[in-house]
């Protein structure tokens, strides 16, 4: 008997007298209070990310301000070139991990942002790039539009496509493994810079 048949057989025997429950479980929701974008900005800042607001026509300036002078920046293929004009840019067309390690920063958009938890979610479409480029460089500049902000986790799940690889980011990388002392910056980007664009609705 194959391992598969053996295991499934044991599961069925174990559940012989148990009735399945086909109805999906609905989770409780809290009514969001106040301005979602403000809440999002506050919660991300709590994780010691840098958060700035800018108008729709001020993104290019905000991006440049988020980067140290002379920084070498990798960008995803579909990020509008105008946002990083004048910077030392390399467009990711399959850079190796070692090449990414020599880059200083990455600039991307995002798919959705969660106000309650201060979370940015990337679905790695061409405006955000494949997963490696937001992982290896030490600084991640992420552009979040106000209309991308939702209230809480269930709202994000409703918008996200699970067939895409997803990365949920809540602040820079951290650990509390040494005596429970929280230390920022282990393997992921040590600096997370969020630009919230107050786009017109």
């Amino acid at each position: 008997m194959s391992a598969r048949d053996d295991i499934l057989g044991r599961v069925r025997t174990a559940l012989a007298s148990v009735q399945p429950d086909p109805v999906p479980v609905a989770s409780p929701r809290a009514a969001p209070s106040g301005d979602l974008v403000d809440l999002f900005a506050e919660r991300v800042a709590d994780y010691r990310a840098t958060v700035v607001h800018c108008p729709a026509d001020g993104v290019e300036v905000a991006v440049a301000a988020a980067l140290p002078a002379g920084a070498r920046v990798v960008v995803p293929p579909a990020l509008p070139a105008g946002l990083v004009a004048g910077l030392d840019v390399v467009v990711d067309e399959g850079l190796s991990a070692t090449e990414l390690d020599r880059v200083d920063a990455v600039v991307t958009g995002c798919r959705v942002a969660i106000a309650e938890t201060g979370t940015i979610v990337l679905d790695h479409e061409p405006d955000q790039g494949r997963r490696a480029i937001t992982l290896v460089p030490d600084r991640h500049v992420c552009i979040v539009r106000a209309d991308q902000v939702v209230a809480d986790v269930p709202d994000a799940l409703a918008v996200l496509d699970p067939s895409r690889p997803l990365t949920w980011i809540s602040g820079p990388s951290a650990t509390s493994d040494i005596e429970l002392d929280r230390v920022e910056g282990v393997h992921g980007p040590r600096a997370l810079h969020v630009i919230v664009v107050d786009a017109p609705i």
Binding site: R4, P20, A97, A132, L157, G188
Partner: protein
Amino acid sequence: MSATFVGMPPFPEAARGALADTQLRHNLAHATATIREKRARVVAEVDEWEELRLAGAAVKDRVLRDLDEQLVRLEESLVARGATVHWARDAAEANRVVVDVARRHGVDEVVKVKSMVTQEIGLNDALAAEGIAAWETDLAELIVQLGEDLPSHILVPAIHRNRAEIREIFRRRMGQVGRPAPDGLTDDPAVLAAAARQHLREKFLRARMAVSGANFAVADTGTLVVVESEGNGRMCLTLPEVLVSVVGIEKVVPTWAELDPLLRLLPRSSTGERMNPYTSTWSGVTPGDGPQEVHVVLLDNGRTRALADDIGRQALRCIRCSACLNVCPVYERVGGHAYGSVYPGPIGAILNPLLKGTGDPQTDSLPYASSLCGACFEACPVRIDIPEVLVHLRSKVVDAHRHDRVPKPEAVAMRSAAWAFGRQRRLRLAERFTGLGVGIGRRIGVARWTSARDLPVAPRESFRAWWRRTDGRLDEAP
């Protein structure tokens, strides 16, 4: 190379040793108090927390009640997305799958994301036996691995180590397995974390194969979820060409939307944060992004035994948050090693017996490693009634010993009591000797029982005698 829990003594003996370690007790008291406070603060923010717990428990129960269908659907979804699915009845089968994949790709090293299930099956040792190095990349697991030590907590496995010890371990051992610790390494946590970053970076960038576990596996979509803080998970899940994920069969979640309560319950219960820094989800292979060869090993290793236990089944709801460890007065005083398993604390006290069955003295001692205070049930985000399961498991241990040729003292006491209570005459006779018996007992003691309990003073007369004497008149006190 690594230490092992095999051969650990039963809990009472192991606990005695741990209790005498004042440094350990100090570390644990500080650590658990800190995490408890953080958790309490963020849980208080969520008005609907109790309903969320009910929803989380309901999602897991829904899966467990229908697990065979869910597993079949998970396999279909994974295969449709380009993953290869393997089934493993036990640790040996699971390890063989990982070794075979490594062999086929000719790798002599793999990088690992923290995964309790891979510790449960002893994967690192199985790989080492085949000449394949398994590099732990989670900071605490790295500390445990370099220190040739054992994990003592589900979430912060190196909590029993202080910074000076960690510095020593890094200085002594990093150079033996890769980039050495920098000169002048201090014991400041930020400096130590930076040393770990440097040491592991070269391994991340060159590794061709990674092994992970998964916090959740969504049946409908074939999506695996890994929840982490440091970024080592993201490194392992996206840089190498080959990824093998070992997943316990109880990790299934039916639909994408039903991840919701669990994703909201886990970070606040485990690290006391609104959300952990990084959560990665992926469904099979994504062309041009991440590993192009993806394997998933579905592991039983005793889970079907737990599933068959009507009362114990709820233990499989566990999402490995470790909230129960942090509130447990017993765990706080003895730490994880005393439980002799990669799953310590209250959840370990029920999970190990459920996965393994009765018969091993060390495992049999675990359901008794509790005062049944119930704090764990209050803290559990998926409402596992740990005290109920503990009592149930105690009865299973007693039943397993019911026909021993040499009965345990407790069994003798119970049988004597059953004999005495069997007939009114016998009870009356036994009552006559209460004063004498208790008097002797208080004097000579039954050491193991009375070392932590006081025998009460025997009353001057039994209730029956008093009733006979006073004809039940309440104005005459006994």
